[in-house]
Each structure stands twice: as C-alpha cells, then as structure tokens.
Amino acid sequence: MEHEPNDVLSRFQHGDLEAFVSLYRLHQRAVHGWILRIVRNPAAAEDVTVETFWRIYRAHARFDPARGFEGWARQVASHAALDWLRAARPERELAPEVIDDLPAPSAADAAVTAEIRCKTARAFSRLPPKLRIAATLAVVEELPHKEVAEALSISVAAVKLRVFRALRMLRKDLSSQGITP
C-alpha cells in the first residue's frame, strides 16, 4: 500500500475534505478488501465500506497522525463490519446466491460433502458475531493473531480465546446435527 504524506494526515485530522478524498482514493480498495474478508458478501461489503468512510470522516478529530491511517481505518472497518454481522440475519448472510458467489475450496477433502460444508457454514453464521469475526480472520483467512488483534482492538490472548470458543461452539452445533468432524 502507498504511504500518504504526513501533511495529508494532519490536514485530515483537522477535517480537510480534500485530504479525506486523497486518503479515500488511496485506501478504499484495501478497506473494501478487509471488509469483504469479514462479511463475505460482496454487496454488503460495498455498503459497509461506505459506512466505514462515513465513520472515518466523522471521527477525524480522534485520528492520531503519528499512528498512521491504515491501521486506524482497519479498526474502524472491523467495527463497522461487526455491526453489520450483528444486524444481519444468518439466513440472509448465507443465502444460496451469496454462497454461490464465494470461491470453491481449492483442496476440498472428498469426505467432506457439500452438505456438510453447507451445514458448517450455516452453523458458523449462528455463532456470536464477536467470535465469528475472530475465527473468520484467524482461521478462514489465516491472518496472524497479532494482525487480527490490532484490527479488533483486543489482545492476542483474547483473539486466541475467541477462536477457541468459536470452534468449540461450532463443534457442539455440528454434533447436535449428527456431524462429527
């Protein structure tokens, strides 16, 4: 990602619209990509990206130029995505057209049928959003725990705990459906 000059960051902090436009042009693709990883729904990712940049603009006075824009934008994006996960119904999140839009697994185990994958995805969508977002980033997207922790504004230990709880709840849900991983 390109780095923005300190002058732009400082002007943005003071509410300069032109500086915000520069930062939007520079970071919107990365922010959208980050949100898409969390919400896993292309249409929703666009809406949440818009919402994220509204929040970023409104919060300009709280921005610290010394900490850089990318990490801060990622935190705002993660919180906006979390709010979307909380508001969305699991059935809507994993509607058939949404599942079809997602890429097929590259190395699917032959023993894991499409039905099991679908049930797993649905069970996952029923988990509490805070657990789901941590598991999505750390397990599905395989991002380093430190990166996930920074984006979610929590400690690395909290990320590990949320991932553990997510996997445990997922296993319990699947077991109740007769699926033993």
Binding site: L36, Y57, A135
Partner: protein, 74 residues
C-alpha cells in the same frame, strides 16, 4: 476440546468457508455514496438500546455475580 479436535474444526471451517479474494474491487464506484453521507448526522441511539443498556446496568448493580456471565457472552 483438544488440539486435534481444534485442527479438525479449523480444516472443516476452511473447507466450508474458503478465503475470499481480498483484492476484489467493488462492483461500483462508492465515492458518490460516501459523499452523500458526509453531511448526514449520525443516527441517534434507538430508545430500545438505551433502555436495554440501562436495565443491564441496573441488573449488574443489584446482582454483581451476574457480571462474569455477561462478560462471557460479550
């Protein structure tokens, strides 16, 4: 849940939800929508959320033992 179970669950989850292409571009130009919202005031907190938060604070004040339960479900 032991480590073996965890690894199995991770593998199953990765097969059920493969990583998305994070480099994917938005299908439309989002700037007009961003621009429209810049002047809009943030939505006020819904009254129901405020009542719920108030009730939660009151409950934890009267029953402090419930705090760990709430923290678990946060």
């Amino acid at each position: 849940m032991n480590e073996l179970d965890q690894n199995r669950m991770k593998k199953l989850l990765q097969q059920a939800l493969p990583p998305v292409a994070a480099a994917a571009e938005p299908a439309r130009d989002l700037w007009p929508a961003v621009l429209r919202g810049l002047d809009a005031k943030p939505a006020p907190l819904p009254w129901f959320d405020l009542v719920l938060a108030g009730g939660l604070v009151a409950l934890t004040a009267f029953f402090p033992a419930a705090i760990p339960v709430f923290l678990y479900y946060l």
